[in-house]
Symmetry: C2
Subunit: 203 residues, 2 copies
């Protein structure tokens, strides 16, 4: 059984292994990333790896969780206050800028793992779903708040709108990564924003 590290040093080693695995997987995918690569990159030993992780699958799940934290963290402070049209537009623009800055490489750190893990590891799939839920929630909350304040049509469904927007983000990132063109995400998010705006309050 893998141990939870009891010392600060142990925790740092465990974290370093996850970070190394996450970086390698972002660069080259799960298939090309061996545990030997991971310990080399982390400057750790195989015994340390197996001290903290039962197996490769357990490590991959930690990568999913870390990637989700990374994706959500990088979207702050936007995610904290998606309760105006201006804030939503600025958030979407920040996502496009991130892709432009990163050369349209790598795709979404959560989404790009779905095809690699969802069919083989049910726990990993649930962690990926959890990442998406945490991503969708701030927009959902913001839209409900806007509806309460008369900025969003009372007949609009914030749950569905938030899901449709997250789908546009994910699809835009798939096309951006494939075509190496952040303009693909821009097109997807312009459409998503226009669709959201079509639900603005008629008042």
């Amino acid at each position: 059984m893998a141990e939870t590290p009891r010392t600060a040093r142990g925790r740092a080693t465990r974290e370093r292994i996850i970070t190394a695995a996450a970086a390698l997987i972002r660069e080259q995918g799960v298939a090309e990333t061996s545990l030997d690569d991971v310990i080399r990159r982390a400057g750790a030993s195989k015994s340390q790896l197996y001290l903290y992780f039962n197996d490769r699958a357990a490590l991959l799940r930690e990568v999913v969780a870390q990637n989700a934290d990374l994706v959500l963290g990088v979207q702050e402070p936007h995610l904290s206050s998606l309760d105006s049209w201006k804030a939503i537009r600025a958030w979407l623009d920040s996502l496009i800028n991130l892709q432009a800055d990163g050369g349209a490489r790598g795709g979404c750190p959560i989404g790009s793992l779905v095809g690699q893990l969802a069919e083989t590891d049910e726990q990993a799939r649930e962690l990926l779903a959890d990442g998406f839920a945490r991503w969708e929630e701030p927009l959902r909350r913001g839209l409900y708040s806007m509806q309460k304040r008369g900025k969003l049509d009372p007949n609009a469904d914030p749950d569905r709108l938030a899901t449709a927007t997250l789908a546009a983000i994910q699809g835009g990132l798939v096309l951006t990564q494939t075509r190496r063109d952040p303009g693909q995400l821009a097109i997807a998010l312009d459409a998503a924003y226009a669709y959201l705006r079509s639900h603005r309050s008629p008042r």
Copy 2:
């Protein structure tokens, strides 16, 4: 150097190997699929594998190409005539039904390979991009035709509309696979269709 099979029997063996690899990858991803698994499933030998494919990467590229053919083939006859609102809606509904029939498993056979191959194999990335281009083109063409016949706003941009729709499909499939819920694709495509329809001709 890999050979192009000269006999019908050789071609059938080569095709069987690609089909076996594609099926395994759909079920369990690139990382979990070994060449030994592939030849076992295909009922082929290692020497046949290396006769027709230089290496694992070459086989994976053929899987991309075959998956693209599969995805496009299954959308016929819809893709041949996306030149009315009714035809577009029926096409989108057929995509949702496919996911419902398949238990919301597997995601998009093209899109789910992007995260697995785009960063490590430039040729595979180009084949994935080619698959998306072939997918987008029929809608683009249909929208141009609708514009010509006064069904689509003359100020609308069919290229951007087709890309936004493909992004919604891809993102909807990512969420469908992750959440095991075809309703996710339905939400994404209802939004995509409403966005398209917002560009219908004002006449």
